[in-house]
């Protein structure tokens, strides 16, 4: 078996500025890295360290991988300083990925916050590539301000797809913004969706996941239909190093997308 600690080298081909704090890194690995939407990889800056990220690109294009990253720590700060041409390392993929097999004939309610839209974009690419994989797709996306929205160049085309609606929101009013204002949870108040035929999939900061979950429960979603892309410190990626546990689950192996029904009784699961 392949040594799981040895990364695949990947050339950084381009860097796209998404927002002042978020960049998308376009990588060409030395060998294709097939992954399912929602699975994550460990991206390594040789000599510095590695950190876990879920690719934001299409799972149907394993030759190339895009990873959208917020500048927030040791590895990500260095990544943000890099320019095209350098070689990075990729280990993985790890984790289970989104439960796409459950989505057939179901509406998928996609709720993203900030850079949390990155893994969800990979899911959207999958659902757009295989329209029969699910019913309608409703996307709710919250950002602090218009300048902090990821993938702005794609929003219009998503909303124009048949069976897809896209609603962005910003936290506070901003000059030039005529869209919805308020936290992303405010978009969940008047959902015209059958709770028994919809799966909610959410990714964002932990505090957002907590309030989104409470809101979804409030408006009648059963815990079994809420999936959360959870955050923990994941080092090995294989469920053996110990630190990413949520109760008896290891996020790197059993997640990082967890069904709320499975974790609702774990103390502090959502902070």
């Amino acid at each position: 078996m392949k040594n799981p600690f040895v990364p695949v080298p990947a050339v950084l081909e381009a860097v796209i500025d998404e927002t002042p704090t978020i960049k998308t890194f376009c990588l060409k690995p030395a060998e294709p890295i097939p992954f399912r939407a929602g699975q994550f990889v460990q991206l390594e800056v040789p000599g510095l360290g590695e950190a876990p990220f879920t690719p934001s690109s299409s799972p149907f294009e394993p030759d190339r991988m895009e990873i959208t990253i917020l500048k927030t720590g040791l590895v990500t700060n260095r990544l943000h300083e890099l320019e095209a041409g350098v070689t990075l390392g990729i280990r993985g993929p790890f984790g289970k990925g989104y439960p796409i097999h459950r989505f057939e004939d179901q509406t998928v309610l996609v709720i993203g916050g900030g850079v949390g839209l990155a893994p969800l974009r990979s899911l959207l690419f999958h659902l757009f590539h295989e329209p029969e994989a699910c019913g309608n797709v409703s996307i709710k996306y919250g950002s602090r301000e218009p300048a902090e929205m990821c993938f702005k160049r794609q929003h219009a085309s998503w909303g124009e797809r048949p069976g897809v609606d896209f609603t962005p929101t910003i936290d506070r009013p901003a000059e030039g913004w005529d869209g919805h204002v308020g936290l992303v949870t405010t978009l969940l108040d008047d959902l015209d969706l059958d709770r028994e035929k919809t799966y909610a999939v959410s990714c964002g900061p932990e505090v957002m996941l907590r309030f989104v979950t409470w809101k979804l429960l409030d408006v009648g979603f059963p815990p079994e239909r809420i999936y959360l892309s959870m955050n923990r410190n994941m080092s090995c990626g294989m469920g053996i190093c110990g630190r990413c546990n949520v109760g008896s689950y290891y996020l790197c192996k059993d997640g990082p997308d967890m069904c709320y029904a499975d974790i609702k009784d774990v103390p502090y699961a959502l902070g």
């Binding site: 600690f5 040789p46 955050n231 410190n233 090995c236 294989m238 190093c241 103390p267 502090y268």
Partner: protein, 354 residues
């Protein structure tokens, strides 16, 4: 069962030195210490001492080093880290070997394998021994194990008059006996009976000394019923977060990966970690899911006695009691488990999910 005279054992150890780095208990003044045998320095086979109970330190580093290079990135690109030379370990006890079986579940019998652990398990040789005494902290029988090895050895020694009863536990052990046939003879029925009687007596001794800590309910049930932190805070009151319990534990296996840049590229090290560390689960951006010590204390017990059995079918404790001896806060895991069962605070049910 075979029989081997004491003098033959020393010869066997000498012979092992050709193929293995040998680690064995050696008497150092008052203490028995695990040492690497270096001919000419601390002697050869004759210097190996019989350890009547488990040693003070865990044998875990023989298979799982405190830090190990798992991969490197040089001018040629990424590559796997080196594999250490085969090691022969003498003096392992039942709890030490039960712990190997526990870590095997995670590092070997799993979707992913930890390459260093698997290589070490494959190539190392284990000559274990029955316990002939027990320490005050020993509680192997409380967690389903015994004061004599039940698995994971190549040869096991049971002290008998003039030598040892030898049980062969693996094809590697069989080959060793075949290669040194002159050192072994067939054991008689009386010798087998003597070994069994000694084992039964030892088991009874461990059970008797743990009678005050005896519990009726499964550990998981006692741990899960305490939803609030009230009792946990009392149990953790003297914990100073020194991490000693993790470090001496033969079943704790948490590690973190760290990259170190050098002149000829970089190396990735796997280093032991401790779930009591405040930064153990800290994420980029600073968030940590178990900010308070009491939460980490609780998580330690939950992992060993609730999650691990749920995930792997066994308790992540072999009852060696090293955590009890090592704790400067005098926290006794047996006493904690006993209190978790017997001190049920009615308010626990009211507090519910936090």
């Amino acid at each position: 069962m075979k029989y081997m005279r004491t003098a033959s054992f020393a010869k066997l150890v000498e012979a092992l030195g050709r193929d293995y780095d040998i680690y064995a208990p050696v008497q150092e003044e008052e203490r028995l210490l695990l040492q690497r045998l270096v001919p000419g320095e601390n002697g050869g086979g004759a210097s190996v001492a019989w350890n009547p109970a488990r040693l003070g330190e865990s044998l875990k580093p023989i298979w799982f080093q405190t830090s190990r290079v798992v991969s490197r990135w040089t001018a040629e690109g990424p590559e796997a880290g080196p594999t250490p030379r085969p090691r022969a370990i003498i003096g392992a006890k039942g709890c030490d070997l039960a712990a190997l079986g526990i870590i095997d579940k995670v590092f070997r019998d799993h979707t992913f394998q930890e390459p260093g652990w698997c290589a070490a398990r494959e190539q190392n040789l284990v000559i274990s021994g029955d316990c002939t005494t027990c320490l005050d902290s020993c509680f192997c029988t409380m967690v389903g194990h015994a004061p004599h090895p039940e698995a994971h050895f190549d040869l096991n020694l049971s002290p008998l008059e003039g030598g040892f009863g030898v049980e062969v536990g693996s094809p590697k052990g069989e080959a060793l006996v075949a290669d040194h046939a002159d050192l072994f003879e067939e054991a008689g029925g009386e010798q087998v009976a003597a070994r069994d009687a000694a084992r039964a007596e030892m088991t009874e001794r461990v059970e008797a000394q743990n009678e005050p800590h005896a519990v009726r309910d499964p550990f998981a049930q006692s741990i899960e019923k305490h939803k609030s932190n009230r009792l946990w805070e009392a149990l953790a009151a003297t914990c100073v977060q020194c991490n000693a319990c993790n470090m001496v534990c033969p079943t704790c296996h948490c590690f973190f990966l760290v990259d170190v840049a050098g002149e000829e590229g970089s190396s990735r090290l796997s280093c032991w970690d401790s779930c009591f560390e405040g930064g153990y689960a800290r994420m980029a951006g600073g968030g940590t899911p178990r900010l308070q010590l009491v939460e980490r204390f609780k998580n330690h017990y939950h992992h060993k006695f609730v999650s691990f059995p749920k995930n792997w079918g066994v308790t992540a404790c072999s009852g060696c009691g090293r955590c009890i001896d090592a704790c400067m806060g005098r926290i006794d895991k047996r006493a904690c488990l006993h209190r978790l069962e017997t001190e049920w605070l009615p308010s626990d049910t009211l507090q519910g999910v936090q």
